[in-house]
Subunit: 223 residues, 2 copies
């Protein structure tokens, strides 16, 4: 039982898409499956299925006298505690994440965080020094987005900025473009394979970092 | 009555801030006052006061078979019809607009717009070939945002991208940084003056463009 004190490595997958049968939902499931195959834990936060409320209330704004956490935010923060990796899965709509995801960041990840903390990089969010991954999809071709200056802007917003704001340990992004209705099964399977590989690589890296091995520590069987 | 067929120039101010007494609310009012002082029309869409729902539903997604407009979106589109200028007023939270504004763009401005239309620049939004203005505030200093690559990313997202996506006639942005609680009245008044000047300059430009004069056409008095 030498490793009994080690807690398992835990991922939270935050999905923001209105269609439970969407390609984004398939991506989230593929990520979850790959994490479990690597022997790590994963929880799925399907924001639409949860009917999460993305609208930040006035009393939730960080002010000098402290901030009131709403019950749904408090419950979500409890859920995220001891999470090592948070992975967002969302489509790009008009250059931005869906309001659902934006509100999750404002209300949950940013709960009570002031501008000064962000500037000082002292805003340790609910994920502590965790890892951040953003998997995004778009109906537009990646090269078209690039020509619009969008991929860089998205990298800044969906990855780097949050990474800096919450002083996380690392951030990375995987973008899948050209997602159209009636995409071929080969395109879908190829894309999901990219997601599984990315999930496996994150699992290995975090395992290495926390336990010096890409595999999770084997707990005793209690005998 | 030679100008009787000319409709008045109309602005819509879309405000997204949870505090009705916020600096953002003051900015929206200052903009509205300046438009009226220029003899043009303005409507204020205070998204929090309207309890606008920013969550795009699955049945609102543009698909090949057409799209269903929700009653609140349809009402908002009716309200925006014949608007020449839309001006967004919002704070930057964690590098993005509030979910409230993001959802307004997705559900109202983007209603039924497909990715292909955006790529082809054939997505003439509800504002037709109108003008777009984004007035943003941040608690962070402008130079700090610049160092984070944020101002460029924001220009892309809050201005250029929407401008391109909806094939609008022009877009411009005004950012007011260093907005902190207890800001001096001189700072506030100076900032509101910048807003009024910007509103007046937009009014003059649109008047010039539509009527060849920065002033609105004088309608007959009916006598």
């Amino acid at each position: 039982m030498s490793n009994a004190a080690s807690s398992p490595i835990r991922h939270a997958v935050v999905l923001a898409h209105p269609d439970p049968n969407s390609f984004n939902a398939m991506i989230a499931r593929a990520y979850c499956d790959a994490v479990e195959a690597a022997g790590q834990e994963v929880i799925l936060r399907d924001l639409y299925a949860m009917t999460f409320d993305p609208v930040l209330k006035n009393e939730e704004r960080p002010v000098r006298k402290g901030v009131t956490l709403a019950p749904d935010v408090r419950a979500e923060l409890d859920m995220l505690r001891d999470t090592n990796v948070v992975t967002f899965v969302f489509p790009i709509w008009f250059g931005m994440p869906p309001a659902m995801l934006v509100g999750y960041i404002d209300r949950v990840l940013g709960a009570g965080t002031t501008v000064r903390q962000v500037q000082d990089r002292s805003a340790e969010g609910p994920l502590g020094k965790g890892h951040l991954c953003a998997i995004t999809t778009s109906g537009a071709a990646a090269d078209w987005l690039e020509a619009q200056g969008q991929t860089e802007a998205l990298r800044e917003l969906a990855g780097t900025y949050l990474f800096r704001a919450f002083a996380m340990r690392s951030s990375e992004a995987l973008h899948i473009g050209d997602v159209v209705e009636g995409a071929s099964s080969a395109f879908i399977e190829d894309s999901l394979q990219r997601v599984r590989k990315r999930a496996a690589s994150i699992c290995a890296r975090v395992g290495q970092e926390l336990y010096g091995t890409p595999l999770p520590p084997q707990l005793g069987d209690g005998s």
